[in-house]
Amino acid sequence: MDSVYEALVEIVGPEHVSSQPEELFIYSWDLGTTEPHRPDYAVAPRTAEEIRKIVQLANKEKIPVVPLGGGLSLAGLAVPFKGGILLDLKRMDDIIEVNERARYALVECGVSQGKLTAYLERHHPHLTHSEPGAPPAATIAGNVVIHGQGDLAHPYGFNSDMINGLEVVTPTGEICQFGSCAIGAGWFTLHPLPDVGLFLGWTGTTGIITKVSLRLFPCKKIRGMAQFVVDDEDLVPEVFYKITHTQMVEDIMATSQAIPPFSSELHHFTINIAADSEKELEFKLEIVFDDTLGEYIHKGDGGYLGFIRGLERPQLSKTSDWRKGGGFEYVGSIMPIEQYPECYRRGKEISERHDIPYTVLARCIGTAHAMMFSWTYAFNRADPKTIEHAREALHETDDLALELGGTIWKPGLYGQRLVMEKLNPNTLELMRKIKQLLDPNGIMNPGNWEAQ
């Protein structure tokens, strides 16, 4: 029996460590197009203290540690490219505290989006969190660590802007806290202590987040989705701009896709509106659709398709079953909203070149300060040619995102290299120094953000 395995068993118990081929196979795969790489061990810790010991062991043995949340980034961010210990963090799934009056939830890193949603619905119906467009198995911590966005991105920004505090196991095995919790107070604010924001966007290369305090927001009694459609992509930026000016809505997304054919080349807005009364709802609908978007409707440039009560939870995994193929991956970008038309047109071209029906989506972040624009490419998991096509399309799209003046959201290795090539050299050097300082043995999620 190898000594690392024995040491891991000592830390987490025999049932939560595996070096069996089945676990190594499963944890070698991302769900997107990234090539698999096997870890040497799969470990499912339960506490930050266990993680601390694992990290110390990994430093001693100089072996990589790759943290995994829901595994739904699709960009290969938790693929153990250089082997080592794959940490499946989903056993750490306690909702530790919900503070109703200060509107935050303190959760362990493995808590899923679905679990928090269900918990709030049941126990705190006046509160909600910004739920991303991912399957409910996506984790809260995994989402903030990649700067995810959710269905409250318009009023409140990125989910990583909603953090009140973090607990992190550093690459050298210290458990640190950040925010008001660090001075023994509650987990109600991240500011104004000195900013040490070293863990978001680094995809686990600078530490392992073990607790997150996440801001919650008022959950109105009535929540629903209105639909608005335009056929001219050039109108989309100004529609975004005008809706955000009203400050009456919770979420604004524009989508366009080749399938079904009757809606191809149309641009559908999904606009989430919430209200505590029928009067409030009527007022908001009137402001948005009569006073603001009425001009498009009257001119025949846009159409109001109605308001449906209730939020449809994201079922994006259905995208994977296009042509019964079981796979998709997307490039997400953070982009000025004015680039929507070009993003759409150029993305459509890439899709057509690779014989993949186009699917694009834009979600408003902030008051039209930016959008997350994504290009999705479906593939057939049983057909290597389609996987290769999707991979090529993804790479071309990474290039496109930067060419159009945006930045790539949660880039995979290819996109990371592109970003680092464009990064200010001093910034890149600072990243390298920070990484070297925090992770002198280079054990954390190697392959990612390697600023050479």
Binding site: F25, A118, K318
Partner: protein
């Protein structure tokens, strides 16, 4: 050796994206509603993990190992995955796992306990390896009549016939049916195994033999209507036997009791003073959509304060006993075992009785109450026992 191309679901199995919906209950309370995933919390033990491993195995990307077999046979066939998967092929995801188990059976590469389970059934007609001659022992002193053309055949099944605790509920139900004046008979030592769990293990050949033997016997005796103690038997007779020309009118006993009570044919006025919660058996609930009969019975009994478990009906957490796991017990031995999770959930409701309607659930959950040291807080009782008490029938 079967290759992926020959696999019945070879053109479908790659469609699992492993999005993880299969782990949740309907309301997304947590990711522990797949009993095997709840127990081991490694992706391999989720439905998606099994499907990806199966595909890899049939494509020669991984070899068969005892661990792989453990992963596959720890599936209890509870159907939570099928209920939650949002994709159009969800009706087949459990079938894919059962077919993969079947391929292991074909190759003779199954875990020793699974082999023992199947051999016992083949040799003795029950999973315990107890002589067939003892199958009627539960009847001793009951005075129940053998089936001779009565309205109903009371089919007890293996657990109710052999397991000491489950024999009590078999007797309780017999006494209740007798009290209600139901015309019924039993097979006693002549009864065979229904085969439901053999089928879930993927031993198609043995299941066919069991089903055909039972069907032939039922037809010889002129059976038209069957009432079962176990939801497992109910499922096999209702959904599988028709494939072998075995068309019988079959009821789970809770359905019959609910009718008797609502028609006023069963006097339950003695009542039952307790705070009762109810655990939905998978083969009654998710497999057959029967969620109401048990609840209507319990709510009709004077003195019962009925409390729902948070995870109920389609969201019920399996006890961990399906797919032969009540015998092979691949999910036992841990506080994370689904049966122990379930009794903790039941205890959290404030109930002092956890009602079940299945001898397998009874065994699994009663053992879990002991493991959790909750004996003085909550006890597991079958609805047949509760009704018997409400009828004033003493053991």
């Amino acid at each position: 050796m079967m290759a992926l191309a020959d696999f019945e679901y070879g053109d479908t199995i790659h469609r699992c994206f492993r999005c993880g919906y299969c782990k949740f209950p309907v309301d997304w309370t947590d990711v522990n509603n797949c009993p095997a995933y709840a127990r081991y919390r490694m992706e391999t033990y989720s439905c998606g993990g099994r499907l990806w491993l199966t595909r890899a195995w049939l494509s020669d990307e991984i070899d068969w190992t005892a661990h792989f077999a453990h992963i596959m046979f720890s599936c209890t066939a509870c159907k939570n995955c099928e209920a939650k998967c949002p994709l159009s092929f969800n009706v087949d995801i459990l079938n894919m796992i059962t077919a993969a188990k079947g391929e292991m059976v074909e190759r003779g590469t199954i875990p020793p306990l699974v082999k023992e389970f199947l051999e016992n059934i083949q040799r003795h007609g029950n999973p315990y390896g107890t002589p067939k001659a003892k199958r009627g022992d539960w009847l001793d002193g009951m005075g129940l009549k053998p089936y001779q053309g009565q309205d109903y055949l009371y089919y007890v099944g293996c657990i109710g016939s052999y397991d000491t605790r489950a024999q009590e509920i078999a007797r309780a139900l017999g006494a209740v049916l007798d009290r209600a004046g139901v015309s019924f008979g039993v097979l006693g030592v002549e009864e065979g195994c229904d085969g439901n769990d053999v089928n879930m293990i993927g031993e198609q050949g043995l299941f066919e033999v069991l089903a055909e033997d039972n069907i032939a016997q039922f037809k010889d005796l002129g059976v038209h209507r069957i009432v079962t103690l176990s939801p497992h038997a109910y499922n096999a007779i209702k959904n599988e036997y028709p494939c072998y020309e075995g068309d019988f009118e079959v009821l789970h006993y809770t359905q019959l009791l609910q009718c008797l009570i609502s028609d006023g044919d069963l006097d339950i006025s003695k009542g039952f003073e307790a705070r009762v919660t109810f655990h939905d058996p998978c083969f009654l609930g998710r497999w057959n959509g029967e969620y109401e009969a048990s609840r209507e019975i319990l709510q009709a009994i004077p003195g019962v304060t009925f409390i729902e478990l948070e995870k109920n009906r389609e969201s019920a957490l399996c006890c961990g006993g399906g797919g032969g796991n009540f015998y092979i017990d691949f999910l036992g031995g841990s506080p994370d075992s689904p049966s122990r999770r379930r009794v903790r959930e039941a205890h959290e409701t404030g109930a002092n009785i956890l009602a079940v309607a299945c001898p397998s659930c009874l065994n699994m959950l009663e053992d879990a109450v002991k493991s959790e040291e909750l004996e003085d807080k909550i006890s597991v009782q079958d609805i047949s026992e509760i009704v018997a008490k409400a009828c004033g029938i003493t053991a």
